[in-house]
Symmetry: C2
Subunit: 272 residues, 2 copies
């Protein structure tokens, strides 16, 4: 197959849990039927790294041997570094698909903002690649990804066939259900919510305070039925189309009065 | 003033260039007339950290002495860590305003995705605080922030007076002009673009390759006149209202066919 790869679709795979994560192997299994798989993933776990890029220390890339025809590289950086390194140093032409994950843990609702998994998908989107981030609502290293395979392949199949609108990628979350079955797929919007009571305070042996990040998710729309949180709570796979354009267009009109400022400065402000 | 702070507005200030940045002092100067200023900023520079949070090592917070009535703290973490720490450990009630910056360097267009400055503003937004990220198109430590002060105060004044729609914050960028004057303010949308040729390859003394992140911005809309890039190139202060809801609502309809998947699995896929 490798000698004929001009006609075989190329699929770039990355994640934020690092090259040893079980979810990465599940994702490779999902996309293998669709083309030549090239993995470029972080050496170590990068949960919560969001869209961070590495500018303070140099990056290195390492090729790993495998027993299948997957090209497999690690980078000592973030998920977004991995996508950039893949696009600039590994892949000669734009891949046909980028997939990221499968994350161990949810990236629904506002968790997308903190997510390295989804940042990699957004980065792929910036390169014009149809991109999907996948997450399973089980953060354990031993999570069971078996139910995600066939549903993941259905979603990939549709994206490969129909494409995605430029500047848009998908945030796919798989629920955990008692019988391992899903009730179907819901195309939904991002649930609004926030995190609360986020630190655990401890004291070190020298009497100095330190804090571990922790806390719980507060669902601000518990009664909504069109959100990813609702879909997941009801046994559906949630699919949120996500835009790299963060502009709030309706707010542009509301704040247009800002353009009337022409002659600063109100001196009285300084004396308030 | 401190004894009467129930009636004085509270303003939370952070940045991503760290507590020693000149831009942080400029921002303090902007907001001082509007209330009690509390700074919680990263100990060190955190450019390119985006919405990253620190989960692998513990955080510590340190109070610093100053010669004015500004409360000033540093945290050994990211800009988003600083906002969370401020909200959970420093400030008793929700502040009236959060400002982040002034960043040394642009956060226009898609740079918002990588920006720690704007991530702090988005985090403030998640807490329901009217939030503004400020950046100046000069990355040098010695950048001249003088022209930003009066315009910054005008923008803060309007936001404090009128508020912002829930889930929306502002991405404000100041241009650099020859005469230090701005032509006004433009309320605009995020320009689309991407980064190219992003690595400089070097060889270390032991013959091993390594890479420094670098590259240039490719403006994908050079002829657009309603974007932040256009405003800045023409000497205007750009103001983009930014949403924490990343859902692409029009794309939801286009991909609604995904919901028709009910009976995986197409076995032939596996044999492709």
């Amino acid at each position: 197959m490798q000698n004929n790869n001009k006609t075989i679709p190329t699929i770039l795979v990355t994640n934020d849990d690092g090259i040893h994560a079980k979810g990465l192997e599940a994702l490779i299994e999902i996309v293998k039927p669709f083309g030549k798989v090239i993995v470029v993933a972080p050496e170590e776990g990068n949960s919560g790294m969001s869209h961070a890029i590495t500018i303070k220390h140099p990056l290195r890339i390492r090729k790993h041997k495998r027993n299948d025809d997957v090209d497999f590289y690690s980078v000592n950086g973030t998920p977004v570094d991995c996508v950039k390194m893949a696009m600039n140093q590994v892949i000669k032409s734009t891949p046909n698909l980028l997939v990221s994950g499968i994350n161990h843990g949810s990236n629904s609702s506002v968790s997308i903002l903190y997510s390295g998994t989804m940042a990699a998908a957004l980065e792929g989107c910036l390169y014009g690649i149809p991109s999907i981030g996948f997450s399973l609502l089980d953060y354990l290293p031993t999570a069971n990804f078996e139910p995600t395979i066939v549903w993941g392949q259905e979603i990939v199949n549709i994206v490969v066939t129909n494409g995605l609108t430029k500047g848009t990628c998908l945030n796919v979350n798989f629920p955990v259900t008692e019988n391992g079955q899903y009730n179907g797929i819901k195309v939904c919007r991002q649930n609004m919510g926030t995190w609360r009571e986020e630190f655990e305070k401890r004291t070190d042996p020298r009497g100095q305070e330190y804090f571990w990040l922790t806390g719980y998710f507060l669902n601000e729309e518990p009664n909504a039925t069109d959100t990813d949180e609702f879909a997941l709570a009801n046994g559906y796979v949630s699919v949120v189309p996500v835009s790299i354009d963060l502009t709030n267009y309706s707010e542009m009109k509301r704040i247009s009065g800002l353009e009337n400022i022409s002659s600063p400065f109100q001196n009285e402000l300084k004396n308030k």
